[in-house]
Symmetry: C2
Subunit: 352 residues, 2 copies
C-alpha cells in the first residue's frame, strides 16, 4: 500500500531533534528520571507522540548489562502440558518487561545443548530448562559450565547448582496407590518412559512404597522403556500376550496412557470393567471420551510461577543455595478407575 513513509522508524535521535533536546535527555524522560525540567519532559512526550517513537529493544539491550530476554527450552510443544507451560512463561516474562524466546529440544540432548549454546549467544538474562533427561543431564552441565542463570523444571527433583521446580510426583503417585489399593486392586502394571530419570524413579517409588505399605502382598509389574514410544508399546503387548492380567494400569506419562488405551482397544478390553487405568498428565479429551480417563493433574500454572519467581530472583542477584520446590498435584478420579473385575478377562489369563 501507498505511503513509503512508514518504512523507517524514528530513532531516539529523531525524537531528540524534534524536541530540541539531546538523545540522553530523551532516554532519561523515557525512564522517568526526575532530573529533567518539566518543560522538556513535555516536549519530549510530544515528540514521542507525534513521531510514534518506541525504543528498539535490540539496541537498548545491547547497551544494558542484562538483556531482557528469557529463554525457555522444552522437550516439545505438541502436548497440552508444555503448550500451556509456554503460555504461562510467556505471560510471566512479559509481566516483567521481558521477552520469552522458546525453543523445543525434540527430546534430544544434542539439540538441547545446541539451543543452550544459542541462548548463550543471545546472552539471555535467564533460562527455564525442562531437560530432556533430568537434572543431571547435559543441559545442566552446560548451563553451569558457562555460568548461565537458570531454573530447571518438570523432569527434575533437586540439583546442587540450580533451582528446580516440579510436580510432587512422589505424593501424587502415593495417592494413586491409595486409590487403587483402596478399590481392591492387588496386581498393577506400571508403565513409563525414561528409565534412568530421577523423576520416573520418584513416581515409581512413590507408588510402590505406598502400595506395599497398604498391602505387602500386592504385585507390581513395571515396564519402562528408554525414550521411544514404540518399544514401550511392544513391551506392553508382549506382557499381555504372556497372559499377565493386572487389574489396573498406572502410566507415568501421557504417552504411556495413550499406548495403554490403544492396547486395551486392540484386545477389546473396556475400562473400567475389564481393567482400570490412571495416568500422569491430564488432557482436555480425557473428560470427554467414553469412559473418561482418570489422571494426575500437574499444576502447570504454579510450576511456571514458581520457576519464574526463582529465576528473576537469581537474575536480580539473589545468592544462596539452590532451592528445590515440589508443587502439589491433583488426582482426578474418573470413570476409567473402578473395582477389579470379578472374573478373568476374556481371552484367557488369570483373574485376581
Amino acid at each position: 500500500m501507498s505511503s513509503g513513509a512508514v518504512h523507517k522508524r524514528p530513532s531516539i535521535h529523531d525524537v531528540a531533534n524534534h524536541a530540541g533536546v539531546s538523545a540522553a535527555t530523551v532516554s532519561k524522560v523515557m525512564h522517568g528520571v526526575s532530573t529533567v525540567k518539566p518543560e522538556n519532559v513535555q516536549r519530549v512526550f510530544e515528540a514521542v507522540e507525534r513521531l510514534g517513537y518506541r525504543a528498539d529493544p535490540l539496541a537498548s539491550d545491547l547497551r544494558r548489562a542484562k538483556r531482557r530476554i528469557i529463554g525457555a527450552i522444552l522437550p516439545e510443544f505438541e502436548s497440552e502440558f508444555f503448550g500451556s507451560m509456554v503460555t504461562h512463561l510467556e505471560r510471566l516474562a512479559e509481566l516483567r518487561g521481558y521477552t520469552l524466546v522458546a525453543a523445543s529440544s525434540g527430546e534430544s540432548e544434542e539439540r538441547e545443548a545446541e539451543i543452550l549454546r544459542r541462548m548463550q549467544d543471545w546472552r539471555v538474562a535467564g533460562v527455564v530448562l525442562a531437560p530432556v533427561r533430568d537434572e543431571h543431564g547435559r543441559g545442566g552441565e552446560l548451563m553451569q559450565a558457562h555460568g548461565m542463570t537458570g531454573v530447571m523444571i518438570d523432569r527434575v527433583l533437586s540439583d546442587e547448582s540450580f533451582d528446580t521446580v516440579s510436580a510432587d510426583s512422589m505424593s501424587a503417585s502415593a495417592e494413586v496407590a491409595r486409590e487403587l489399593i483402596g478399590r481392591g486392586h492387588r496386581h498393577v502394571l506400571v508403565v513409563g518412559l525414561g528409565e534412568q530419570g530421577a523423576c520416573v524413579r520418584a513416581r515409581l517409588e512413590g507408588f510402590r512404597r505406598t502400595a506395599e505399605a497398604l498391602d505387602p502382598k500386592v504385585q507390581i509389574d513395571v515396564i519402562l522403556c528408554e525414550s521411544d514410544v514404540e518399544p514401550l508399546r511392544a513391551s506392553i503387548r508382549d506382557y499381555f500376550s504372556r497372559g499377565e492380567r493386572p487389574t489396573a494400569v498406572f502410566s507415568l506419562f501421557l504417552k504411556g496412557t495413550l499406548v495403554a488405551l490403544s492396547e486395551f482397544r486392540r484386545r477389546g478390553w473396556h475400562c473400567p470393567d475389564d481393567i482400570s487405568l490412571v495416568g500422569f498428565d491430564d488432557a482436555e479429551w480425557m473428560s470427554v471420551t467414553w469412559p473418561t480417563i482418570a489422571a494426575v493433574v500437574q499444576p502447570v500454572d504454579q510450576i511456571a510461577a514458581q520457576a519464574m519467581d526463582m529465576l528473576f530472583r537469581r537474575i536480580d542477584g539473589e545468592t544462596g543455595p539452590p532451592t528445590a520446590r515440589l508443587e502439589r498435584c491433583q488426582l482426578l478420579v474418573r470413570e476409567s478407575v473402578g473395582a477389579p473385575s470379578s472374573g478373568p478377562h476374556p481371552g484367557g489369563g488369570a483373574g485376581q
Copy 2:
C-alpha cells in the same frame, strides 16, 4: 562451580587482538570473504577456537539491514495443531539461520495487535500471523499500516495485501459431505466457532453445497457461536433438548468436537450407534479412544513449509501480487462415523 573466568564472553575485538589483526578482518573471515590472506584466516580461526568465540546476534542484527528474527503469532499453544505448527516454524526458521520468536494472542485481537507492535519494535524480518479472526481482522491492517513483511495462515482464505496459506477447508468439507451422505445421513448438525470468519464460511459452504448437490432434501442445521466454547455448549444442549435428532454431527473445529462428544456423553448416546461424529482437526487421542473419532487432518507441515517459503521470498525482496495457497487435507474416517441409526434415539442411555 568455581572459575568466574567464564562470565565475560570474548568479543570480536578480543579475537582480533589474539590473532593480531583488526576486527574487520575477523568479521570477514567469519563470513567467508575471500580477500583475506590464508595465513590470517588461519590465525583468526585459531583465535576463535582458543577463545570459543561466537558472534553476538544482537550486535550483528543491530548493524545489519534485516534482522534475522521471524515472529510467529498464534491464537494459542495448547493444541496439537498450533503446537506442531510452532515446532515446524521453529525448524524452518533455524534452517535459514533465523531465530523464531513465538507469541500467543490468546484468541484476543487486542493482544494480537499488541504483540504485532512489539514484533515491530524488534524490527523482525517477517511475521507469520495466524489471526484470531481472519484475514480482514486487525492484525492484517496493522501489518499493512506499518509496512511489515508477513504471511497469514490458518484462518484465512486470501488477502489483497499478504500471502496466505491455509488448509483447503472447502474441499475437505465437501469430502466429509460425500462421506456422510454416502452413508445415508440426511439430517446433519454442523457446529463451529467464529461465525463471521471467512474460513468458517468456507467449511460450512463446502459441506452444504456438496451435501445438497448429492441430495437436495438433506436437512442441515447449523450452530455457530462467536468465540467462546460455553455458549456453543449451551446452544447444542438446547438444540438437543428441543428434540432435534440429527443422525450425524460435523464439527468445524476441535473444540466443537470435544463439546459434541461431551454432550453425547451427557445423554448417554454412543458413536456411531446413536449418532455419527466427524470434525476438523485430528488429535493423537482420537485414534486411541473408544470409539476412535473421525477427523479432517490438516497438513501442518505443508502449511508451515509453504508459509515460510513465501515469507522468505518476500524478505528476499520478491514483489508481485500476494498469493493464496490452499493445502490439501486428509479425511480419516474412523469408528465414530457409521450409518444412521435405524430408529429415533432413546430418550435416555443406550446400552453398549
